[in-house]
Subunit: 75 residues, 7 copies
């Protein structure tokens, strides 16, 4: 059991893998987690924007400002 | 009586146990508390998203940004 | 007369006693104040959630994130 | 004329006196200013909550989180 | 021409003079600027609260929390 | 090409010139940029407030709190 | 594979190139990324404001306050 694991460890484990990112405005991004920082600013590669369950646009690389994020999770 | 106990002590006591996390947007997550930090960023394992009392989706591991959280409580 | 008393002194005086906590989303929690910190993160024991004057659920221990709180007061 | 007076000086001058505190959610508290800090966290004694010009409840001592406050003024 | 003048210089120049202060909730205060700090917390003397172009109440001294303010301007 | 230019350099270049400032509440101010700081608090001279494309009032000097600002641009 | 890349590296790679910037109020700006800082304050050159898929106005240089930004992406 990993005692004292920290939240950013979970993000680090997801680096290079596919994640979903849900935003406060109801948008979801799905893409490969390329980078993050302590503010939870996030960069995704091969990113798709989803709205109401549909792909709305494909964005390639996207920088998401951390304060708009609700959750991140492996996709 | 434990005088001077701090709020994060309660989170620490819940580590590895099942908790519910209610968010400002009305969503609830239930899962096993794996990690947290001073911003109340939280990582749950075996996480389920609930909305209006129903399980909406199962997410495995989820990182929840602290500033979206209203409460955490043992589930 | 206690000149220069500070707001956290009032929280300290309420430690171990029953308090009500009103949140920005209109929810009220009533419980025994177990812990707090400078962000006004709060832990209640034997906590009840009230909504529109009725007990909505009993939660045992609850961690409340400080930035969701409007007021705390002895119950 | 007191040049260079600071906003907290005005709060200090009101200590022990009756003040009104208007909150962002439209609620007003009236009570005796017991304590405040640099975040404008405030403690009132003999506090009454007003809504739409009527006394809604009497609370005794109340801790008000600073970020919910719009104004304070002698009552 | 004063190069490198700073925003707080403008507030300092208004000290002791009549100013209007517009808040995020649509309220306007008009009064004599007595004090301010780097958070733009402001104290007005002989303050009047205006709403929809009418004087709603006279408050004497009022402490306005900076994060509720949109603009200040000589009245 | 100016590598590593910083956002505040653009504000500095606009000092003394006419700019428009759009606020989160839908208001626009147009005036001469007199001062700014790292919080993007801004002072305009000869300022006009616009709403829905019309000049609503002329304000002379106006201090605008940075956290209400969306964009600044040469007018 | 670039381990430990940081979010601002992605912004740096976009310097001098065309980007889109989506704001919390539903507005999109498209322009050449000239400058940014750790707050994600951004300066675009040759900027266009889009709303509901149409060009609403051309702004030349625009300073965008970071806390209004949701995402940035190559355009």
């Amino acid at each position: 059991m990993e005692e004292n694991s920290r939240p950013l460890d979970a993000l680090n484990a997801a680096r290079g893998k596919s994640v979903l990112v849900d935003l406060k405005n109801g948008t979801r991004f799905v893409g490969k987690l390329k980078a993050f920082d302590i503010h939870i600013n996030v960069v995704l590669d091969e990113a798709e924007e989803h709205k109401d369950g549909e792909v709305k646009r494909k964005l390639g690389t996207v920088f998401i400002r951390g304060d708009t994020i609700i959750i991140l999770s492996p996709a």
